[in-house]
Amino acid sequence: MPNAILDPTGRADFAPAARPRGLVLAPRPPGLAGLRVGLMNNTKHNAALLLAEIGKLLAAEHAEASVTVADTKPNFAAPAPADLIGRYRRECDVVITGVGDCGSCSASAVADGILFEQAGLPAAVICSDAFAVTATAMAELRGAPDYRYIVTEHPVAVLDAEQVRERAKRLAPEVVALLTARAGQ
């Protein structure tokens, strides 16, 4: 009887059965009127400006909607810490975050989106299309292979301010759709 060949991944030790499968999204509001919008910038170049521009558009287009938190993740490679998620939960009704524009930050942006949903906050994650595979790999890892996020064309970091504003205009309707009942979940 030959020896068995050992598995080098240790995946069996992770007991996938014990890990949560399937993400229940936070309940969607019918619209953004009167809601508090949170922006979480992941420090990638142009992320702060893109989020701010989208925030402005949402505030202008939805009565009494306003941006109440615009904070920055301490580490773009890691998911947002619990205290930061907690702050958004206390001070916002919906969150927009990104931009997934690198190897680790795209994956962790999706992880953040899932954390926000689990905290009861509808979230819109914006990720560059060049990193969609790694973003989806993270969603699968978190037991939410069908997690929806917003994909925007790569690259974002080289856009000038005017181009970022244009990009924000194009993305704003997608953000609204994902954050509200129009998401059709």
């Binding site: 080098p8 890691a78 680790s104």
Partner: protein, 370 residues
């Protein structure tokens, strides 16, 4: 060892089954475990010899990536070291290299990065000769089993245990040649300076591993000057290139060949003085950086600025601290060719002792707390 490698082929020992070996190798490929090259299939008896060589608890957790919810244990590291082609006695070196890398940006998003950084592993002390690590000609490889398989084991741990695989969670834009194959022994015998591990504060004569992550590397070929300043000037020019310089400051290093190191030492330079000389001169003027669109700063990231003041010299190294400029000595004493290395992030500067419970030269020092 060299004699054995060159002796006439004696024919395979009786009882080996190449067909079974090939089938087992193909099985490993089919599971997605391979980095592209054949793997040595791991069995429990073989893994047990690795674990015995290290004398550590198989369940000890030695790495953790919270964003991926995955942990590396000594047992999983041993299985991957088997796959990589290590011998059992190399395994303590793999563990020391892994621990040294845990002090680098490898604990964050480094392995997933678009930069595709490569570990640089430097081995010091008696373990070099006892296990047959190459410190001389062709120090960057290939050709030597311990130098080739120890870094490969690191790469397989990242691939298999963390699940960071190319095109998935690994997003290297191009990667870099030798990503999982840069492990060199310091040429202590021909170095004019103390071993790298001694510089890190470990006792002389101890076996230890230093490691960091490289962005890329490029050699300086300068074999016709006898002037230390001219030689260092050549290094300053190469180190100061803008290509891989993306943040306000960048850390670098030089793996000097014995000839260059001896020339510098002969002119009175020790490591500290080499660093001081280079820290002052590695960099570019704002005008030069402006031509590459890297003269300005947004936070700590370089981007196009206004090009002013044009003549201002921007240093690449934030200081002459050793963490900003790793200096080691390796290679043959046959030409003036040394490797400039560019670090992915700051270097911890630490050296981790190789703990070998069964080795005659075992150290009694415990691992530093991380």
């Amino acid at each position: 060892m060299t004699t054995a490698a060159r002796s006439a082929p004696a024919g395979p020992p009786a009882g080996l089954d190449p067909d079974a070996a090939q089938a087992a190798i193909e099985h490993c490929y089919e599971q997605g475990w391979s980095d592209g090259l054949p793997l040595v299939p791991a069995t429990q008896p073989l893994v047990d010899t690795f674990l015995a060589a290290a004398g550590r608890s198989p369940d000890e957790v030695i790495g953790r990536l919270p964003q991926l919810d995955r942990v590396v244990t000594v047992r999983l590291a041993a299985i991957n070291a088997v796959l990589a082609g290590c011998r059992p006695e190399y395994f303590p070196v793999v563990l020391a290299a892994w621990e040294a890398l845990m002090r680098e940006r490898a604990t964050g998003g480094g392995w997933q990065s678009t930069s595709g950084p490569a570990p640089l592993i430097v081995v010091n002390g008696p373990v070099r000769t006892e296990l047959g690590f190459n410190a001389a000609g062709g120090a960057f490889g290939p050709g030597f089993r311990p130098n080739a398989t120890v870094p490969r084991a690191i790469g397989l741990i990242v691939r298999n245990v963390y699940g960071i695989r190319p095109h998935e969670l690994e997003q290297a834009t191009q990667g870099l040649p030798g990503r999982w194959s840069i492990c060199l022994a310091e040429n202590e015998e021909e170095s004019p300076w103390p071993p790298l591990a001694s510089e890190a504060g470990l006792p002389d004569g101890i076996s230890a591993v230093s490691a960091t992550l490289l962005r890329t590397c490029e050699f300086v070929d300068n074999r016709h000057t006898s002037s230390a300043e001219q030689l260092l000037g050549d290094f300053a020019d190469t180190i100061g290139r803008s290509g891989s310089w993306i943040f306000q400051y960048a850390a670098a290093g030089v793996v000097f060949c014995p000839e260059h190191a001896q020339l510098l030492a002969g002119a009175g330079f020790d490591r500290t003085q080499v660093r001081a000389w280079l820290a002052e001169r590695c960099g570019r003027s704002t005008a030069e950086l402006a031509r590459a669109g890297k003269d300005g700063l947004d936070g700590r990231v370089r981007l196009p600025g206004d090009g002013e003041p044009a003549a201002h010299f921007q240093r690449m190294l934030s200081s002459d601290d050793r963490e900003n400029l790793l200096i080691a000595v390796a290679g043959a004493r046959n030409a003036g060719i040394s490797m400039v290395i560019r670090l992915f992030a700051d270097w911890s500067g630490a050296a981790v002792p190789v703990d070998r419970p069964d080795a005659a030269s075992r150290t009694t020092d415990k691992h530093e707390e991380s």
